[in-house]
Amino acid sequence: MTTTGWVFMIASWAAILFGTSWCFYRVLTSRRHWQNPEEDIRHLEHGEFEPPRDTPHRRR
C-alpha cells in the first residue's frame, strides 16, 4: 500500500464516518416522533395503525 493509497483510504473512510455520524446524531437526538417504537407497534394490528404522537422538533 502506497502513501497515497493510505491517504485515499483514510480520507474516504473519514468522509463516510463523518456523514454517517452526523446523520445518526441528528436522528437519535431528534424528538420529533417515535421515541419508543416497541410501544408504538405493540397494540397495533395490520391496517389499523394510529399515527404516532406528534411532538414538536426541539430545534423549531
Partner: protein
C-alpha cells in the same frame, strides 16, 4: 376505510431502507469495481456521482413515495398518475412494479445459494471441500450443471425455503414484518461484517506465500490510486453505475417504502442516513473483506483472475477456499454466507413490496391475498432463471430488468418528477417536514445534471452492450431458447401489469385516478 399501514419507528425506516440498498454488490461488486478502475482514484468519481446524482435521486424517490402514500398510492402507477395528469402516466409506472419483480426472479435464487452455503458451512464444514478447483466444481454441481433439468434437488429445496422465509416476513406487513426483519437483520449484518473485517485484518499469509501476500497489499490492491485513469470516461461511467446500483435507485422500492411514512415525516436526514449507512457497509466494510483476503491467500495475480471471473466466483468459490484454510474456518464461512443471506433477504422483501402495494392500493386486495399472489407468481417465474441458468437466462434477465430497465425507469422518474411535475414543486415536496434545508444549487443539479447523467449512462450501456444483447451476438444456438423464454417472461410480466392497471382504473371507486378526473 382503515388507515394505511405505517412504519412504527424512524430508525426502522432507516434500517429497512438501508437493508434495501445493502446487498451482494456491497461486498462483491464494489471492491472489484474500485480495484479495476483506478483504486483509490475511483473514489473521486464515486463521491462526485454520489453527491450529484445518487443521493439527490434517492431523495426524489423518497419524496414521490411519501407524497403517493398520503393519497394511498404506494407503487409507481398510482404515484405517476398523481404527478402527471395524463393517461400515459400510470402505464409508465408499470415498470416500477414489474422491474423489481423481474430482478427478484433471479435474485431469490442467488439469495438461496447463500442460505444453502451457510447451512453447508455450519453443519458439514462445506463437506470438506477445500481447493479452489473442488469448490468451483462443487458450485457447478450445486447449480445443477450436468443434470438433465438444469437444477439440483438441493438447490431447488433451498430456493423453496428462501421463498418461504420471504413470504413469512411479508405476511407480517410493514411494521411487524419488514421493519422487524430490518431491526434484527441490519445490526446483525453490521456485527458479522465487522467481525469478518477484523479477522481479515489479522490474517497471516499461508505457508510459502510471496512478499506481496499481506493484508496491507490487499488494501493497496483496492486503494492505491491510479490518477491517470481519471481521464478515462469509462471510469466515471463505472463509478456512476456503481452508485446507481448500490443505492437501489430506479427499483421503485424506495418510493414504495417511503409511501408508508406520514406526510410530514422528514425525508432529507432520514434518506441521507439510509444512504450513508449503505456507504459505510460498502466503502468501509465491503472493501475490507473479500479482496484483501483474496490477495493474502492468492496474491495479486490470483486476485486479478478471481475478480475477472465475476462476483459469484469471488463470493462462492474464492471466499470459502480462504475460510477453509484458516482455523475455525467453518464458523467464518457461516458468518460470510449468512451475512450475504441477510443482505439478500432485506433487499428481496423490498423488491417484492411494490407489487404487493400495487395490488393492495390500486386493486383493493387484502394484504394477505396480495402477498400470496406475488409470492406464488415468483415461485413460478423464478424457475425460468433457475432452469435456464446454464443457458444464461439469469444474465438475460439481469441485463434487461436489472441494468437497462432500472436506468430507464430512473430516467422516467427523474423526468416525471422534475420536469413534468415541476422542479420547484418537487423541491417544495422534498422539503415538506424537513429538519434541514438543502442548498438551492442542488435544485439545478437535480433538474439538469441528474437526468442528463442518467441518459448518458443508459445510452452508454445500450451502446456498449445493448445491440449485442438484443441480437444475442456470440450466444451459442443451444442457449437462445432459454434467453428468449427469459425475454418473453419479462414482456409477459409487463403486459400483465398493464392489464391490471387498466382493471384498476375501471373498477368502481378506482384508486388510480384517470387523467380527466
Amino acid at each position: 376505510m382503515a388507515d394505511r399501514e405505517r412504519w412504527a419507528s424512524r430508525i426502522g425506516v432507516i434500517l429497512a431502507m438501508a437493508g434495501n440498498a445493502v446487498g451482494l454488490g456491497n461486498f462483491l461488486r464494489f471492491p472489484v469495481q474500485a480495484a479495476q478502475n483506478g483504486g483509490g482514484a475511483f473514489m473521486i468519481p464515486y463521491f462526485v456521482a454520489l453527491v450529484l446524482f445518487g443521493i439527490p435521486l434517492a431523495w426524489c424517490e423518497w419524496a414521490m413515495g411519501r407524497m403517493g402514500g398520503a393519497y394511498r398510492h404506494g407503487s409507481a402507477p398510482g404515484v405517476f398518475a398523481l404527478l402527471w395528469k395524463h393517461p400515459m402516466a400510470k402505464y409508465l409506472g408499470a415498470l416500477g412494479v414489474c422491474l423489481p419483480l423481474g430482478v427478484l426472479t433471479y435474485y431469490l435464487y442467488v439469495e438461496s445459494w447463500s442460505l444453502a452455503y451457510s447451512m453447508f458451512a455450519m453443519m458439514w464444514d462445506l463437506f470438506g471441500v477445500r481447493s479452489m478447483d473442488s469448490l468451483r466444481a462443487f458450485l457447478t454441481a450445486y447449480q445443477g450443471g450436468g443434470t438433465r433439468i438444469g437444477v439440483s434437488l438441493i438447490a431447488w429445496v433451498f430456493f423453496l425455503i428462501t421463498i418461504g422465509i420471504n413470504y413469512w416476513v411479508m405476511t407480517g406487513g410493514i411494521a411487524r414484518g419488514i421493519e422487524r426483519l430490518a431491526r434484527v437483520g441490519m445490526p446483525l449484518l453490521f456485527v458479522l461484517a465487522f467481525v469478518l473485517t477484523v479477522r481479515v485484518f489479522t490474517l497471516s499469509p499461508p505457508a510459502g506465500a510471496g512478499p506481496d501476500q499481506t493484508v496491507r497489499e490487499g488494501l493497496g490492491f483496492v486503494w492505491n490510486p491510479d490518477l491517470g485513469m481519471l481521464r478515462s470516461g469509462k471510469v466515471w461511467l463505472a463509478a456512476a453505475g456503481q452508485v446507481f446500483f448500490t443505492l437501489s435507485v430506479g427499483f421503485g422500492a424506495i418510493q414504495c417504502y417511503a409511501s408508508y411514512m406520514r406526510r410530514r415525516d422528514d425525508i432529507i436526514v432520514t434518506g441521507l442516513s439510509a444512504s450513508m449507512m449503505n456507504e459505510f457497509v460498502e466503502v468501509i466494510l465491503g472493501a475490507s473483506i473479500a479482496i484483501p483476503a483474496a490477495v493474502v491467500f492468492f496474491g495479486r495475480a490470483g486476485t486479478v483472475d478471481i475478480a475477472r471471473s465475476g462476483a459469484f466466483n469471488l463470493g462462492f468459490v474464492a471466499m470459502p477456499a480462504i475460510f477453509q484454510q484458516m482455523p475455525v474456518g467453518a464458523l467464518f464461512g457461516l458468518m460470510w454466507f449468512f451475512l450475504l443471506f441477510i443482505a439478500g433477504v432485506t433487499s428481496s422483501v423490498a423488491l417484492a413490496q411494490p407489487a404487493v402495494a400495487f395490488l393492495e392500493d390500486e386493486l383493493g386486495w387484502t394484504h394477505r391475498r396480495a402477498v400470496r399472489a406475488v409470492w406464488v407468481a415468483l415461485l413460478v417465474l423464478g424457475h425460468v432463471p433457475i432452469l435456464g441458468f446454464s443457458a444464461g437466462a439469469l444474465d438475460e434477465v439481469d441485463f434487461w430488468a436489472g441494468t437497462i430497465g432500472l436506468a430507464l425507469f430512473a430516467l422516467i422518474e427523474a423526468v416525471v418528477f422534475l420536469w413534468v411535475f415541476g422542479a420547484e414543486r418537487a423541491w417544495a415536496e422534498i422539503h415538506v417536514g424537513a429538519e434541514v434545508r438543502l442548498p438551492r444549487a442542488l435544485l439545478y443539479v437535480l433538474k439538469y445534471v441528474t437526468p442528463t447523467l442518467l441518459a448518458v449512462i443508459l445510452a452508454a450501456w445500450l451502446w456498449q452492450d445493448g445491440w449485442a444483447y438484443l441480437t444475442m451476438r456470440g450466444v451459442p444456438a443451444e442457449q437462445r431458447v432459454w434467453r428468449w423464454v427469459a425475454r418473453v417472461m419479462l414482456l409477459g410480466m409487463l403486459a400483465i401489469t398493464v392489464a391490471l392497471i387498466r382493471r384498476a382504473v375501471r373498477r368502481p371507486g378506482a384508486a388510480v385516478p384517470e387523467a380527466t378526473s
